[in-house]
């Protein structure tokens, strides 16, 4: 099968949707020209689609969020790039209050088909304003869909589904994944929103995760296989609304759960997933649910201090060993 980098697959998905539907357009800071955004995701788009469909803007996040809602409400399909995930704080009103409530509050009459793409880059040295994590903010936003791919295949399939979706989607990219290579078929496909994916089958423990955490979990699974522990890796892919059936099924099979995510532990994605399992699958559990997540500390601008607050494959391994002991 064709091998592609995550960033290229993502871009290909957007290009296909822009060719298919003339109402799809891109807008954001430094997304045009040869630069194509800070990570080059939109590189070359301006050349193909012109300045009217790849719109360069000032540093004006609030307006970008508002423009997305307005353009969507009045009939187009905007794709906004917010330069990095920490800046999502500047569009929380537009996403949470405006986009998230529009369909409901309009009596089911005004859908809001917009995508806000952004990128979490927690594994670089750049301090709290750049390396924060707001995933949980959007988990707590009714009416919003939160989509976070972990592979090139999913990135392409999910961005296409997000652009076609009639509801507002926050599409979160994890920067360490941009250069990751993987299978991407030549023929067109869509990855549906709301469906989790079992990235590795196992029978002893389920690791529930998404984004970059999937790769920590896969690494841990490989490591533990040598010790005879069989780990299932459940990639949520859509974090809100999440795939409850997939979780129920996997928990029923393995009876042990580790949830891992890069955001702050308290009130994070893991809190919701753990609460759901406790409410609906408690009978299936043979051990407590464990969370492997970032510490509740702003991200420092210092390699050594980052070591002290962040998580990785080793932490997932440790948690699984603890459950199996």
């Amino acid at each position: 099968m064709r091998q592609m980098k995550f960033v290229d697959a993502l871009r290909e998905g957007m290009i296909e949707e822009m060719r298919r539907d003339p109402d799809v357009f891109q807008i954001g800071e430094a997304i045009g020209g040869m630069q194509g955004g800070i990570f080059g995701v939109t590189k070359g788009l301006e050349e193909e689609f012109g300045k009217d469909r790849v719109i360069e803007t000032a540093i004006s996040e609030g307006a970008l969020g508002g423009v997305a809602v307005g353009a969507a409400a009045f009939g187009m399909r905007p794709v906004v790039e917010i330069m990095f995930g920490s800046l999502m704080t500047l569009v929380v009103d537009e996403v949470h209050n405006q986009a998230g409530s529009l369909y409901y509050v309009s009596g089911g009459k005004i859908p809001c088909p917009m995508v806000i793409r952004t990128c979490n880059w927690m594994r670089i040295i750049s301090g709290p304003h750049h390396c924060g994590n707001l995933d949980a903010t959007f988990m707590n936003s009714p009416g919003v869909k939160l989509v976070i791919p972990s592979t090139p295949y999913d990135a392409k399939g999910l961005i296409k589904a997000s652009i076609r979706d009639n509801d507002p989607v926050v599409f979160m990219e994890y920067s360490p994944l941009y250069t990751l290579k993987g299978d991407v078929p030549e023929e067109e496909y869509i990855v549906p929103i709301g469906k989790a994916d079992i990235k590795r089958e196992g029978k002893d423990v389920t690791v529930i995760t998404y984004g970059v955490g999937v790769h920590d979990a896969l690494g841990a699974a490989e490591e533990l296989e040598k010790e005879g522990v069989s780990v299932e890796v459940l990639d949520l892919r859509t974090v809100l609304p999440y795939d409850k059936d997939a979780i129920r099924k996997s928990v029923a099979k393995t009876s042990r759960v580790v949830i891992t995510y890069e955001g702050y532990k308290t009130g994070g994605i893991g809190a919701e997933i753990a609460a759901f399992i406790a409410e609906e699958c408690i009978e299936d559990l043979s051990a407590p649910i464990l969370r492997v997540a970032g510490k509740d500390v702003p991200c420092p601008s210092n390699r050594r201090l980052i070591e002290g607050i962040s998580i990785g494959m080793k932490d997932v391994v440790d948690a699984i060993r603890k459950l199996m002991a």
């Binding site: 800071e29 430094a30 020209g33 630069q35 800070i38 360069e56 803007t57 000032a58 540093i59 004006s60 996040e61 609030g62 307006a63 920490s86 800046l87 704080t89 500047l90 670089i124 040295i125 750049s126 301090g127 709290p128 304003h129 750049h130 510490k295 509740d296 500390v297 702003p298 420092p300 601008s301 210092n302 390699r303 050594r304 201090l305 070591e307 002290g308 607050i309």
Partner: protein, 319 residues
């Protein structure tokens, strides 16, 4: 009011110290001795150095992401700056914030922030404190940051409240990869002052005396109760960040012209005016060299933090 010869030499020395600091930072970053996100103010040295001679020691200083020069000009802890760049415990933020979060509250200086534009709101908040305490605020940011809504909200509020704030724009015509004409309506940022009924002016931001004169006039008015003023300084940055050096002067001929090199330009001026002699220049450069050497030794002698350092310092008052 012209600065005195002594003040001019002081400004020159500050500019050299900033230049030397930023070049060393770039050099050490390239060698891999220091790491992280760093935004030098090479090419913009005239602005922090001139402003520092205009505001008082008791005033407050708030900048955005390109605040390193203002930190130095303000006289913030220079040794702690270098310990910070090396990520050591004696850094001004104990090695936590790095170059884009430099803050030294002993000097009433918040000279770091990585969310562009947020300094305008924070500086305006400082303005309420300043009004009560009988001092003023100098608030600094790039022209790109003025396209954030918070810039409008802050200037409007400050004007209504007659807050003692000098808002300073470092207009370098670049916002990462964007040029102003692509992103910004209107010719000059300073004209926006009109809308708020405040005074605004645009000056050559590579000309020490032009900045000094206008800033001194505005500071006098602000202290007399005029409310906020807006000063736009037109300059050029040589480089965006240490990891993106494509504009460094050795690569761009234009940058070598005196117009683009405020340090060279001011040096020439001081020599023509007979303020700077060869021996004075040597002495000033030696001062700067020693200051840097001292700070580098201090930084390298400072320990690396424990990896869990600061985990118990997220709240000032743990419960």
């Amino acid at each position: 009011m012209q600065p005195t010869s002594g003040e001019m030499l002081g400004i020159y020395e500050t500019m050299l110290l900033i230049r030397t600091t930023e070049l060393k930072m770039v050099e050490l970053f390239k060698k891999g001795e220091i790491e992280g996100h760093m935004l030098p103010c090479l090419g913009q040295e005239a602005i922090p150095a001139s402003l520092a001679k205009v505001y008082a020691d008791t005033d407050y200083l708030v900048t955005g992401h390109r605040g390193g020069g203002h930190y130095v000009a303000r006289g913030c802890d220079y040794n702690a700056l270098w310990a910070e760049l090396y990520g050591r415990v004696d850094g001004v933020t104990k090695g936590r914030g790095g170059q884009i979060h430099l803050m030294d509250m002993t000097k009433k200086a918040m000279t770091g922030n990585a969310v562009v534009g947020q300094q305008w709101g924070i500086a305006t908040g400082a303005g309420f404190v300043a009004r009560k305490r009988g001092v003023m605020v100098v608030a600094v940011g790039g022209e790109g940051s003025t396209n954030r809504g918070v810039f409008h909200e802050s200037l409007n509020m400050a004007a209504v409240q007659k807050l003692p704030i000098l808002y300073v724009i470092e207009y370098n015509d670049r916002q990462m990869w964007n040029v102003c004409s692509e992103t910004t309506a209107g010719e000059r940022i300073a004209t926006r002052a009109l809308a708020y009924g405040m005074e605004g002016a645009s000056v050559d931001g590579n000309d020490v005396l032009a900045i000094h004169a206008k800033a001194a006039e505005f500071v006098r008015k602000i202290r007399e109760g005029s409310g906020p003023c807006l000063l736009e300084c037109i300059t050029a940055k040589w480089t965006d960040s240490v990891s993106n050096l494509r504009n460094l002067p050795e690569n761009v001929e234009a940058m070598k012209k005196p117009d683009f090199d405020p340090v060279l330009r001011f040096e020439t001026r001081l020599r023509i005016d007979g303020v700077l002699t060869d021996s004075l220049d040597l002495q000033i450069k030696e001062n700067v060299r020693q200051k840097l050497q001292g700070a580098l030794s201090f930084a390298l002698a400072s320990p690396v933090p424990d990896r869990y350092d600061g985990i118990d310092e997220v709240y000032s008052q743990p419960v």
